[in-house]
Amino acid sequence: MADPGRARVFSSLVSVAVALLGCFLALAASLGDVGTAAKAFGEMALGGFGDVPRWLASGEASAVLRPLGESAGKASVLLLTGLSVAVAFQVGLFNIGAQGQLMWGGLAAAYVGAGVSLPGVLHVPAALGAAALAGALWAWIPTALKLRRGVHEVISTLMLNWVAVALVENWLVVGPLKGKTGAGTDEILLSAQLPRIAGESSRLNLGFPLALVLAAAVAAWLYRSTHGLETRATGLGPDAAHAAGLPVARRTWTAMGLAGALAGLAGAVLVLGSEFKYPGRLAAPYGFDGIAMALIGGNHPVGVAASSLFFGALRAGGTRMQLLGVHRGFPELIQGLALLLVAARLGWTWWTSRARSQADASEVPRA
């Protein structure tokens, strides 16, 4: 296990490095100027990881804390949706529906955050719990379709995303749950906001440590508990797991429920941590970014955390690239290229191992 694992980590690191280099060269070529491109990448780093030089020069902690807060905000959402996709992968299901689960989670958090009055200690957990439940319920629809009717989850989760858009954003948020002022739902109460943990100048909030703790918990569950062992067996060898007497269907329900809950929590972190209401339209397709995080992170919670922290920082730093006239979506280009490279390697491995196993099949006597 150690060796293939190490190879995967290495391959992901190489993919990310190549993507960074490739995008840098592309930027330099299109600007016709290496210096500006380097400056743009420098701004991205400063925006993502904190303006350390300014902090050292002036002693303003906010020069570091503010950018880190932005990065952490992006990273926590990426991490939660990435975990969602990775957990579903463990039972062999490709959860393309994290986006829909995230929307329901966000809406549930907004509803409980604005509509229910509770003391602070209880309000945040209640809103988070509602979001997790909403995401899980939405993920159980494709699970039921899969287990009862054999509907492929890629089709059902993908299509349910559009059902979620229709129900949440095109109906509830502009209809029954529309707020009194502006677009989106009512603002959540102060008691439901995720508390900030690095002062008022930084948007770093409880969502970030929550996501990290959840990643550690998912890792422990998957690799250290008997329940997690059964879950991974279900994904890697469903027939063998069934033959060994494991409750394959039950593990699928749990894992998909957990996947939905994690995506729902991502929606809650957006709503309770930075939007403070369900906006008219959710800004970015974080659910789909989760697929990238899961693949680049090798479907391992620690890998997903690493790639989420890195790309969270890059994407927060993208805002500062605008100063030099580079589109702030540029980091997404890097992420996309890294994903392509990782996918290409997976595809290549699959292709060569398939070719090899076919050669073996014609070679090894079977009687």
Partner: protein, 490 residues
């Protein structure tokens, strides 16, 4: 890794040559080089004194080299004649001359004593007949060297006799026949010359008349073979597994079991003999809870099983060493430790409460690897990187360490080399000797006869005969397996 190392082999016109060796010894690789599937890194191939390079089987065929693979390459929907001429069809302007094809096939059949109807659909033929069609295909292409790769693996003794009779006639007419096999007895009976391969090299060559099966086995393994274990019949005790009137569906919803009656008692190995596709797979699946039965009753240790559920059967004391190890026996991607814990993973020493006990598991697995001689002794490797024999030993270890009352094993030695076969078979006898019951399902009649205290013949989904060891008769069982002798219990 090098599959072949400096191998020289001569094949003479009209001779019967056998190539023997364990799995991975390089037999198949060598033959694939001969048939144009692989190209050697160095060395030359000469046909009738001239250097040739085969880029594909087409080149090999053009030079008179034909091969019959273990997995037939026939189109079931076409007739025998159509299959035989496929790739070299007689006819003009793109039209197939069916009559000419049938004449050609009939001519070949008559000359070499094949009894095959040129107009029969291949899909309707049995395994033995399909193999003859494959041979006809090679002959139609003008093969003067015919390679038979493990041809008897799927045949009954009588079908095998027929095959060898045909092959003898071919060699009498001048065709060289190369038999790839690891059944040493049939090799000595058929071939005039035997080449032994081990670890990619040709290690010995004998005239059949001047050697014995023991000598061959010693060269195949690189050491003298262990003496075959003496058969010690155990005194059977109470009935541990009982199937009565069991019916079940098979592939495409067709009835596969049509009334199975069998009992396995404590202390005995009970074999199921039969030609592939007569319900063996379904029988094993019903007996382990993997497949639903439609009628009848399944009892484990006297308890009627309520529903088909592997968990229920396991709890009742059934262990299972499945036919398809990769699909049902192990989780590929799991380590040896994880695989060995599967099914027992919730109890000590594999777990402590809800958590995996990593240390307990690793020391328990280390002990089991030692006890079962699984190589290498490294529980952290993925099980799928081990050799087939070691994978099988690992799966057997997992199932037997649970101390099941009933062990259902399907094709337990398929694809294993001689050493692993002996060790797996000894373990099965040992389990029975300790008071366990073993239901052995195997397509290899020799294996059933060697291991079983009693045997049932399964034909067309029914147990058509039950025989005690004293009444084992290879010929008669072969006829029962083919349905050419009426059912009788003895």
């Amino acid at each position: 890794m090098r599959a072949l190392e400096d191998v020289s082999l001569e094949i003479r016109a009209g001779e019967r040559l056998a190539l023997v060796g364990e799995n991975g010894a390089g037999k198949s690789t060598l033959m694939n080089v001969l048939y144009g599937l692989y190209r050697p890194d160095s060395g030359t191939l000469r046909v009738e004194g001239r250097d040739v390079v085969f880029r594909s089987p087409r080149d090999a065929l053009a030079h008179g080299v034909g091969m019959v693979h273990q997995h037939f390459m026939l189109v079931p929907g076409l007739t025998v004649a159509e299959n035989v001429v496929l790739g070299a069809e007689p006819g003009r302007w793109g039209l197939l001359d069916v009559a000419a094809a049938e004449r050609a096939v009939a001519g070949l059949s008559e000359r070499f004593g094949f009894e095959v109807d040129a107009r029969a659909r291949v899909g309707d033929l049995g395994v033995g007949a399909r193999q003859k069609v494959e041979i006809l295909k090679a002959l139609h292409r003008g093969a003067r060297v015919l390679v038979l790769d493990e041809p008897t693996a799927v045949l009954t003794p009588e079908e095998a006799d027929e095959l060898f009779a045909v092959a003898r006639r071919l060699s009498d007419e001048g065709t060289a026949v190369v038999l790839v096999s690891h059944k040493l007895r049939e090799v000595l009976a058929f071939a005039t010359r035997v080449a032994v391969m081990r670890r990619g090299r040709k290690v010995a060559e004998f005239e059949s008349a001047n050697t014995t099966a023991e000598e061959l086995a010693a060269h195949v393994m690189g050491e003298p073979p262990p003496p075959p274990p003496a058969f010690v019949a155990a005194t059977p005790g109470e009935v541990l597994l009982e199937l009565s009137g069991v019916h079940a569906l098979g592939p495409r919803g067709r009835p596969a079991l049509k009334g199975v009656e069998l009992q396995v008692r404590a202390g005995e190995v009970v074999g199921i003999a039969g030609v592939d596709g007569n319900g063996q797979r379904e029988l094993a699946e019903v007996a382990t809870g993997l497949r639903a039965w439609l009628g009848g009753e399944v009892k484990v240790r006297g308890t009627v099983m309520a529903e088909p559920s592997p968990a229920l059967f396991r709890d009742a004391g059934v262990g299972h060493v499945p036919e398809d190890r990769h699909r049902h026996g192990m989780v590929s991607g799991f380590t040896v430790e994880e695989n060995l814990s599967l099914g027992r993973h919730r109890a000590a020493p594999f777990a402590r409460g809800p958590w995996i006990d990593l240390e307990g598991r690793s020391s328990e697995v280390a002990r089991a690897l030692d006890a079962w001689d699984v190589r290498p002794r490294d529980g952290t490797l993925e099980l799928q990187v081990l050799s087939g024999g070691n994978q099988q030993k690992a799966v057997m270890a997992r199932e037997l360490e649970r101390r099941p009352s009933v062990l259902v094993v399907v094709q337990p030695t398929r694809g294993l080399d001689i050493g692993a076969v002996a060790s797996v078979r000894a373990r099965l006898r040992e389990h029975a000797a300790k008071g366990g019951a073993v239901l052995l399902v195997s397509l290899d009649l020799e294996e059933v006869l060697a291991l079983s205290d009693r045997a049932y013949v399964l034909y067309d989904g029914r147990t058509v005969a039950a025989l005690d060891r004293a009444h084992f008769d290879e010929r008669r069982m072969g006829r029962l397996m083919l349905g050419t002798e009426a059912a009788a219990h003895g």
